[in-house]
Amino acid sequence: MATIKIPPVLRASVGGEKEVGASGGNVGEVLRALATSHPATEGQLFSADGELNRYVNVYLNDEDVRVLDGLDTAVREGDTLVILPAMAGGD
């Protein structure tokens, strides 16, 4: 089981939680598990062709999965995934 940190804009889609647990052997599987248990997140995470949306960054622990193996990056028990869409509030 990995822990997924949910950004503010997605929290409404997971019942207001800041962290959600999900299982899977790699980043893609964990995120798919999240989308299955919280369907409202699916369109926000994945594009129609099943790829991660370009405006969503995902970090395994503190590393950007784009410099690892992307959605194929292996996830171990106890790892943390950070989902991070860009945020522009400043006012």
Partner: protein, 393 residues
Amino acid sequence: MSPSGAELLRRVKSQIAEVDPSEVKELIGEGVAIVDVRGSEEFATGHLPGAKSIPRGHLESRIEGAAPDRSAEVILYCASGSRSAYAARTLQEDLGYDHVRSMTGGITLWKDRGYEVEIPRALSPEQRDRYSRHLLIPEIGAEGQQKLLDAKVLLLGAGGLGSPTALYLAAAGVGTLGIVDDDVVDLSNLQRQVIHDSSRIGVPKVDSAEESIRALNPDVNVVKYQTRIDASNIVEIIEGYDVIVDGVDNFPTRYLLNDASVRLKIPVVSASILGFDGQLSVFKPYEGPCYRCLFREPPPAELAPSCGANGVLGVLPGTMGLLQATEVVKLILGIGEPAIGRLLLYDALGATLTEVKVHRDPECPICSRDPEEITDEELGVFPDYEAFCAAAG
């Protein structure tokens, strides 16, 4: 019998290594720590180029600021070579510095040889008082304070993030603060925008901010831009600034600022806030990633609450704005480890700070290219964002 002063000096000199001014002259600018152990008034009358001032009475407590590595070479000097000899023995015997030498004949011999002397611009007595807590920190001192006074920092927005940033940078003595904001003060701003006050509702934010800054520190020159930054004016506005503080509330301006600042190679200290969460990073062109390396594309409107008014804990822009101000000061002084290549995520409710790595994107449409290749037409371009925001109402 106790030795005479002259005898003691002879003994001390026999226990330490000395160096002739001609050799020191060759070492200037080579990364060797050169420390002036005279009093600060003597230092102010002129010193060796690049020398750090640590009066002998403060040697033990401040030397690590100038020479943190005890195995590295350190050269001490004073007026004639006596005080620096005692100081060298202290560093060698008591603090374990391995390669410390005292300059023969001090700055008097240095000057007799006709070598270059740097005369620091002196802080006024009032400035010495005002910035005294900076002057006491070895990493800042009079030299660092002068850097702050010479620095030009541009704040995009005198709102939630810009308010605390501007106030603290002004207090710190940043000499020029440019402020870009086309808005006027509204009652709903005052829950967080602490540079404004209840008597200034309806007043342009740039004017209100200027008034607060002037009242806090008359050393600061405020340059006001009562306008919205866009592709037509951005280069003209940001050119010449040393650091830019990005606190803008929308993606188009963030991308525009990124592209223009990369082209002009100006570092941007960026933060954003929403609800109880904040993000911060420093984008230093060509040394670290840029905003486009971090976020290739802006999110669609439904995931981008920047399009309209959103709730935010009033204290949060204070926290994030002051983290920004801290990064600005570090960049100006060249100290510490700025948050380059790192994104800090602050969760106010959880009281946690998480950090993730940000890498330069070798395919970045902007910073993978030379600055002169970035054209005016490309600045801030990305897919249909304004249409998204318009659709979101």
